[in-house]
Symmetry: C2
DNA sequence: AAAGTATATTCAAGAAATGGAATATTCAAG
DNA sequence: CTTGAATATTCCATTTCTTGAATATACTTT
């Protein structure tokens, strides 16, 4: 698992953790404010064990943190990027400016 | 595969397409401006067929579009969310305000 | 139409994610 | 220390992702 050469490895791992319907809905709630597991379980409408699994996944990449208080466990978002990303998902798609010619390194800068 | 109830399904698919080191590096280049496949291949340093595979994946979720011009094929980003997300990945993590009590629907709003 | 170039697609095997079931852990109360 | 409640973890079968290899397609030139 020698997976840490490109700077994209870590970003990819973050995005992968987010790229799941249930985890997204969890984060969406958590982005507002800290919540306990029972709340999250009720909101998402899945088994508690399953919710815990998904929360563990989110912890694994460090986007949420848990805090115990008696029997309850409270989760909250600890990575600001999550909010930006979740918010951007609501954004309309939008397009981009057209094109221009090609200046491949393969074509122009070919001196290996 | 009856997977289209939550609005998160589609967002998750988008994020999943992005959550890959090679695809991220492709998008990073494409976010600047349109590029041809040979350019992308040279930049990323992988086999051409492989790059095409990843570009196809990105096309599948609609974040890039291809345009033919002779033998060359030019790709460009067509989903504004991609830029926001990629940019946010460079952002420092940042933390969040503390906590408060719990008001589970399970606890308070229990009238099922 | 044959040959060459740039790019796309298909196939398959190994790796990883998914989600259910059972079970373990932790804390509070008695 | 036993019981019960809230949450976490482990195990496993199934599905999905990954990526190399081979091959196909599309366009240009001759």
């Amino acid at each position: 698992m020698e997976y840490s050469r490109t700077p994209y490895q870590q970003s990819a791992a973050l995005l992968r953790a987010l790229s799941h319907p249930v985890r997204l809905s969890l984060l969406n709630v958590l982005c507002e404010e800290e919540q306990c597991v029972c709340h999250l379980t009720a909101l998402v409408g899945k088994r508690q064990a399953y919710i815990s699994q998904q929360l563990a996944e989110l912890r694994r990449v460090g986007v949420v943190t848990m805090r115990k208080e008696g029997l309850r466990v409270y989760y909250r978002v600890t990575d600001a990027r999550v909010r930006v990303i979740l918010k951007s998902l609501e954004t309309p798609r939008g397009a981009q400016r057209p094109a221009h010619g090609c200046e491949c390194p393969k074509c122009a800068d070919k001196g290996g």
